[in-house]
């Protein structure tokens, strides 16, 4: 039996150590908000935070997480940056199909937590690993700026 700290709670589970965190979250723990998109860290749909840093969970072996804190889309609203990002996403009506948006919100939240006033180049650097097939990029950029402007 292994333990992970996920969204502030200790969660116990059984899984091989080389199993990517994505599948532990989705298939073992039933936390389906984190999405499978490509399996090769090309699309960002599976982005979660490990100690606040954005990580592609589709390639991260669960055994490598250790005691570090995992935050998923289900828990990001409890963080200051995450709550701002979620509000801005709704205010500017960013979302279309929404499948990639868990990952987009996780990447944007990590950006704002580390850099409260990102410029366009910062946004490009932080967000270009997240693909959106519906093409919501223009609104994602605006919403990050909106969230950054929130006091």
């Amino acid at each position: 039996m292994a333990t992970l700290k996920i969204n502030g709670e200790d969660r116990q589970f059984e899984a091989p150590e080389d199993m990517p965190l994505l599948w532990v979250l989705r298939d073992v723990l039933g936390l389906t908000g984190t999405k499978f998109g490509c399996g090769i860290a090309q699309c960002g749909a599976c982005t979660v935070h490990i100690d606040g840093n954005p990580v592609r969970s589709c390639l991260l072996p669960v055994g490598n997480v250790g005691k570090r804190a995992v935050t998923t889309i289900e828990g990001i609203g409890a963080t200051d940056a995450g709550a701002k990002v979620q509000r801005a996403w709704l205010d500017l009506e960013v979302i279309q199909c929404g499948y990639c948006q868990s990952g987009q919100i996780m990447s944007a939240s990590a950006l704002l937590a580390a850099n409260p006033q990102p410029d366009d180049a910062d946004i490009d650097a932080a967000m270009s690993g997240n693909i959106c097939r519906c093409g919501t990029y223009v609104r994602i950029r605006e919403a990050i700026k909106r969230a950054a402007g929130e006091t």
Binding site: D27, F36, C38, V94, C134, R141
Partner: protein, 724 residues
């Protein structure tokens, strides 16, 4: 639009009602139902006011709206409720939205006669029926209140799910009126609101589906979780049409968590305790395939076939004036345009959960064709249709891929061998390599021109008929109404016109609808050739087009607006240019300008995109803007990189590393200007995908003088060293 000259060609609206499947109201999920919550009860009308298929009101006043169209990002789970709640005078903040079950009697798309979401027609097709449904329900509730108060219903008003009689100050909530209302006859032709009284339609109300998409609660097909569920992934033949010869599963069986290896005629599946076990198991299998007759098929062969087919005369789909004589008037020009195979690459990979029990099957999926999934699975399993239950979900992108039931059929066939429910998830590689591809097309246009005006236009479309397979009544007399849709709807005033279609099926490769559908190809050919003709006439591309839009004021207004908003004509740096596109179809009137630059090596960078859109009444104007923004990016992505190629019968691309998508750092400013209109609503979801490619190509033409005639963009042809 779609005014066909040939009465023997069915219009999109008039296609025969095909294959009506009988059905019952079946259980379905709330869009935002948390994983592992108990099943929703079936859509019972007992104890609820249910005057039609779309509206349910219970005694607490809770209004539930049943969605006849599916939500795949296009915002229809907000625009349809806006239309219903507008005429119902319901409290919009309190409505609940549920997926419709498979039932083609109740929920067929009026344009197609089958239960389908596509072709940018959800709002167009359901505009009147939904308004009537809302108005009829409202009239019954008002009548019930008036009867109770013994007053004239005309002296009562309704707002936010309450009926009020101003004269006496009495009022009642809808929940208190449902029993009395349920006993009243449903009015056949209830009065509809004057658009000036709309309080919801035309307003950018907040989407109903998005809050659950910000916190992980939204449930897509891939998120279905059931007690005792197993997880599976599949390998289909890497060669089109190949079969399994034999499988060595010794290594796979020893992988922890692998439970079953299922070998069927045309694919192999590994079932495990989770996707990781299933995927590792699949990777460990040694599968020998009987590659079949397409083992040596290549893109080169397919293009040779298509080019040969395109040289033959086609079936005439439209003719006006005297084309033979017209082509001799003035100077003659020719254009040939080629479009590649494309995959859909929805962000949510193909998946389906199935549970087969003796004599029945239950399916969890996100699909654009819920009734077709039901009937196809029933057929594959030899079950009566009503023994197949389908739970529809939110779609993580559709773009036409989820108009196919193949992933449901394979999941059901796997589930026949599994004790309990099994979720089958395709890897991204499987998703890209086993798609139903947007077909290759080759279009030829001959035109004659004098005094800056086109005198004659002969346009031949050659390519696959998707309709012949997907909706046979829409392929008649050798004409596929989708493949020629925008060719016959050309917005320009041209006195002598001929449109032909040559059906040319690519060997081996399954073809299907892709965002933009047939017009995606037509608009590219038309608008590229228009720019070449403008240059021959030594005219500005917008002025040239405006000269042939006098009879089409809505297009003219859109084009003039985009000209003014895009800084058209203002100087740009060297090797930067602006390109324009005017596009018909889907009953919307859209003009777009793309500004782009080309570096010395031929790489293209987008600088700015501007669109002007007249889509009639924009039910939700913010959604219209969002659909244009997103559609443009979808189309520009394809123009810049999209191509599926085939060697030795195999698709060569496999994932986002070699099937590229536009990313944040590559997306320019996009401005969309919505033109106010009181006309009935047009379609919008497909349109941006069609505007982007020709406008970009024309920007490159302006920037470099190179007239590209096939997609995706050929960088080598644009590099300075290679320029003639």
């Amino acid at each position: 639009m779609s005014a066909l000259d040939n009465p023997s060609i069915p219009s999109r609206r008039g296609v025969l009602k095909a294959g009506l499947a009988g059905g019952f109201l079946l259980a379905f999920h709330l869009p935002a139902r948390a994983a592992n919550e108990p099943e929703q009860p079936p859509d019972s009308t007992e104890g609820r006011f249910a005057p039609n298929a779309f509206i349910r009101i219970d005694r607490s006043g809770t209004t539930t709206l049943v969605m006849p169209q599916v939500e795949m990002g296009q915002g229809v789970y907000t625009s349809i409720p806006q239309i219903l709640a507008e005429e119902l005078d319901a409290d919009f903040a309190a409505v609940t939205v549920v997926h419709a079950p498979p039932n083609e009697k109740l929920y067929s798309n009026p344009f197609f006669g089958v239960q389908v979401t596509g072709n940018s027609n959800s709002v167009r097709a359901f505009w009147k029926p939904l308004r009537q449904a809302g108005a009829a329900a409202r009239a019954m509730l008002v009548q019930a209140a008036a009867n109770q108060w013994q007053v004239d219903p005309a002296s009562c008003s309704a707002s936010k799910s309450r009926v009020t009689h101003a004269g006496s100050g009495r009022s009642a909530g809808y929940g208190d009126l449902i029993d009395a209302a349920s006993s009243l006859p449903v009015p056949k032709d209830p009065p509809l609101k004057d658009p000036k009284d709309f309080v919801l339609i035309g307003k950018p109300v907040k989407r109903l589906d998005t809050p659950a998409k910000t916190d992980g609660k939204a449930i897509y097909g891939i998120d279905a979780m059931l007690p005792g569920m197993k997880f599976a992934t599949i390998a289909q033949s890497p060669v089109f049409g190949g079969k399994v010869r034999n499988v060595d599963d010794r290594a796979a069986k020893s992988i922890p968590g692998v439970r079953q290896i299922i070998v069927l005629d045309d694919f192999v599946a590994v079932v495990g305790d989770h996707m990781w076990a299933a995927k590792r198991g699949l990777d460990a299998l040694v599968i020998a395939w009987d590659e079949g007759k397409w083992a040596t098929l290549s893109s080169k062969d397919i293009w040779e076939d298509l080019r040969a087919a395109s040289r033959k005369d086609g079936v005439v789909a439209k003719s006006a004036g005297d084309i033979a004589k017209g082509l001799t008037q003035g100077d003659r020009f020719e254009g040939e345009y080629e479009m590649p195979f494309l995959a859909h690459a929805t962000m949510e990979p193909m998946n389906c959960t199935a549970h087969v029990t003796p004599g029945a099957c239950e399916i969890w999926i996100g699909t654009q064709v819920v009734a077709r999934v039901q009937s196809t699975v029933a057929q594959a399993l030899g079950l009566p249709v009503d023994k197949v239950t389908v739970h529809n979900h939110l779609l993580g992108g559709g773009f036409g891929r989820r108009l196919e039931p193949d992933m449901a059929v394979s999941a059901a066939r796997i589930a026949q061998h599994v004790d309990g429910p099994v979720k089958v998830v395709w890897t991204r590689e499987e998703d890209i390599q086993h798609d139903v591809y947007r077909p290759v097309y080759r279009d030829l246009i001959s035109a004659s021109m004098s005094n800056g005006k086109i005198q004659a236009w002969k346009y031949r479309v050659a390519g696959s008929s998707i309709m012949a397979r997907w909706l046979p009544p829409a392929f008649t007399n050798g004409i596929d109404i989708d493949a020629i849709d925008s060719a016959i709807d050309i917005p320009y005033d041209i006195p002598n016109l001929s449109v032909e279609y040559v059906r040319a099926e690519p060997p081996g490769v399954p073809t299907g609808f892709w965002r933009g559908v047939g017009p995606n190809n037509n608009v590219f050919a038309i608008e590229c050739f228009m720019d070449e003709l403008a240059r021959k006439a030594n005219m500005d591309p917008i002025a040239f087009r405006l000269g042939m839009l006098e009879k089409n004021p809505r297009f003219k207004a859109a084009l003039e607006l985009v000209r003014d908003k895009s800084d058209w004509g203002k100087p740009l740096p060297a090797r930067a240019g602006r390109g324009v596109c005017v596009q018909p179809s889907f009953a919307s009137f859209i003009a777009t300008v793309v500004e782009a630059e080309v570096d010395a090596g031929g790489e293209v960078r987008l600088r700015r995109v501007t669109s002007a859109v007249d889509t009639g009444i924009a039910v939700n104007p913010d959604t219209v803007v969002a659909q244009l923004q997103g559609g443009l990016i979808f189309g520009l992505t394809a123009a810049l990189w999209g191509e599926i190629t085939i060697e030795r019968g195999r698709v060569q691309q496999s994932n986002f590393n070699d099937y590229r998508m536009l990313r944040m750092n590559e997306v320019p400013r996009i401005d969309v200007h919505v033109i106010e209109s009181s006309a009935d609503p047009g379609g919008i979801g497909e349109t941006g995908a069609n505007a982007g490619p020709p406008a970009l190509r024309n920007a490159i033409y302006a920037a470099t003088g190179v007239a590209l005639r096939r997609l995706p963009i050929d960088r080598a042809a644009l590099a300075i060293a290679n320029k003639a």
